[in-house]
């Protein structure tokens, strides 16, 4: 485990501290792994973390943080949830070393708490984040950033005013495949990128089992507009962030549509959506999500005039792949000549179906856990006591454009970004 952790850090360090390298320019937040100059805490000082919201996502983070207690000199000193069963589970994960809180404000009063990891339902992100920043704590908040664009802006303003770290949980920002892909794209390997496509398809009702019916809205909060924007905020925000990162800019407009056409079970959020983001140079990001077919799963495709990348599956395809060896082509042609059926008349039209070539891997070392890396990054940043370059901005614009996409679906019109939200 220790060796694995070291190799992870070595990879990111090698990728992130190149000074003027393409990676340093396109993923500047990786510098957090290379800069050892601690402003506030020596490496020997413990970083004390609190967890707010310890449901499914929160306990995922909590497990990583507990592992990091052995390797990164941190301590989880408090866990908080307003749902007692989750709180009990979290205290068990910490083997009773962390104190349990039902009210996050009590946790924020703990003096030697350095930062909090927030993994609550979306509608609580903004208030808890702002309260934590005002209490002088650094914040890691799960994506999507917040439920309204006003809240997103207020979170950024507060973080800047207080000089504290605000990191949004877009783990792909730390995934070696994505870091390598962006490096290749910036070096021109895909040529001119004119379209990005992404989809996230599932075939389930997205419901969690209920211990009792009155907990429906609390447990299945993703399905109700009071708490969430459904597919846009919970899934699409990941791929919107990557699209912005790939293109190195943010969209200028978005249009979209969505409906409830399958799961008519009382939910208030769409069970299918399709949105198109446009960038200033005419590049498009086309995204769709559905919950009644999972054949294609999820993918994000970067389409350039020299090649294609499929980031979720770590594959890269050239528009003009190298041809096979001559002798293989000859054998293949002879084989086709003998065994192919004889056509009476030539085809008048050949369907332009997808090219079939095996492509190549974008990143050979893809077994690195980005979920943990983002938390290691957070702890390093807390030790250095300074915001990580561009990290908050990535989360902000992703959150913002996610919500504007939802607005486009709701209002059935093209939405642009109000100028006062540019940071």
């Amino acid at each position: 485990m220790q060796d694995q952790d070291n190799s992870r850090r070595d990879f990111i360090k090698a990728a992130g501290v190149g000074g003027l390298g393409l990676v340093a320019l396109s993923s500047p937040w990786l510098k957090v792994f290379g800069d050892n100059k601690a402003n506030s805490k020596a490496a020997s000082d413990k970083v004390r973390i609190g967890m707010i919201g310890v449901g499914s996502r929160g306990s995922y983070h909590l497990n990583y943080l507990k592992q990091m207690e052995q390797t990164d000199n941190i301590e989880v000193i408090g866990v908080c949830d307003n749902y007692q069963p989750h709180l009990n589970d979290a205290i068990n994960i910490t083997k009773g070393t962390a104190k349990g809180y039902l009210d996050y404000r009590k946790l924020l009063e703990v003096k030697d708490l350095d930062g909090v990891v927030i993994a609550t339902p979306l509608h609580m992100h903004a208030q808890i984040t702002i309260d934590a920043l005002k209490a002088g704590k650094h914040v890691f908040c799960e994506k999507a950033m917040a439920k309204t664009i006003e809240e997103c802006k207020l979170m950024v303003d507060t973080a800047r005013e207080k000089g504290k770290i605000l990191q949004i949980g877009h783990q792909r920002l730390f995934k070696p495949t994505y870091i390598k892909a962006i490096e290749y794209i910036r070096s021109g390997k895909l040529g001119k990128v004119t379209q990005i496509r992404a989809y996230w398809h599932r075939n389930n009702d997205w419901r969690r089992p209920l211990p009792s019916p009155e907990l429906e809205r609390q447990i299945n909060w993703r399905l109700y507009r009071e708490y969430s924007c459904g597919l846009m905020t919970e899934l699409a925000s990941h791929h919107i962030q990557v699209a912005n990162w790939v293109l190195g800019k943010t969209p200028v407009s978005v249009m979209g549509t969505g409906s409830i056409n399958y799961w008519k079970d009382g939910r208030e959020v769409e069970d299918n959506i399709a949105v198109i983001y446009s960038y200033a140079d005419g590049t498009q990001f086309v995204y769709d999500s559905m919950t009644s077919n999972k054949f294609y799963g999820l993918e994000q495709q970067i389409l350039g005039d020299k090649g294609t990348m499929e980031l979720e599956t770590n594959k890269m395809y050239s528009e003009n792949p190298p041809q096979p060896a001559g002798i293989l082509q000859l054998v293949n042609d002879i084989e086709h000549g003998i065994f192919d059926s004889i056509t009476v008349a030539g085809a008048s039209w050949v369907p332009e179906t997808a090219a079939k070539n095996k492509g190549e891997m974008i990143c050979l070392d893809d077994k690195i856990d980005e979920g943990k890396l983002q938390l290691i990054g957070l702890v390093n940043a807390i030790r250095q006591n300074k915001p990580v370059p561009q990290l908050m901005e990535q989360g902000y614009y992703s959150g913002l454009w996610t919500l504007l996409g939802q607005q486009a679906i709701d209002e059935k019109r093209i939405i642009t970004l109000p100028k006062e939200y540019i940071i």
């Binding site: 060896a325 001559g326 002798i327 293989l328 082509q329 000859l330 054998v331």
Partner: protein
């Protein structure tokens, strides 16, 4: 009683010559393919294993054809 099969040195030599001929033919096919498909000359050695496999395949096909020819010829000579 099981009969011993004796393969004479002459036969082995003859088969080695046949295989050499087939290998040269396959090698020439590789040269033709490189010229025809405009691929790289380094395939002469990087894809030598394909040439060997191809030579083996042609040799086996030729062996079957020669064996059949011998069997047919013998059956005709017995009748006469």
């Amino acid at each position: 009683m099981i009969k011993d099969i004796v393969i004479k040195a002459k036969t082995i030599k003859q088969e080695l010559w046949v295989f050499l001929g087939v290998f040269i033919f396959a090698f020439c096919l590789n040269i033709y393919a490189i010229l025809h498909y405009k691929t790289q000359w380094k395939e002469l050695y990087t894809h030598l294993y394909i040439v060997v496999l191809l030579a083996l395949a042609i040799y086996i096909v030729a062996l079957v054809a020669r064996s059949l020819y011998c069997i047919i010829r013998r059956s005709f000579s017995k009748k006469s």
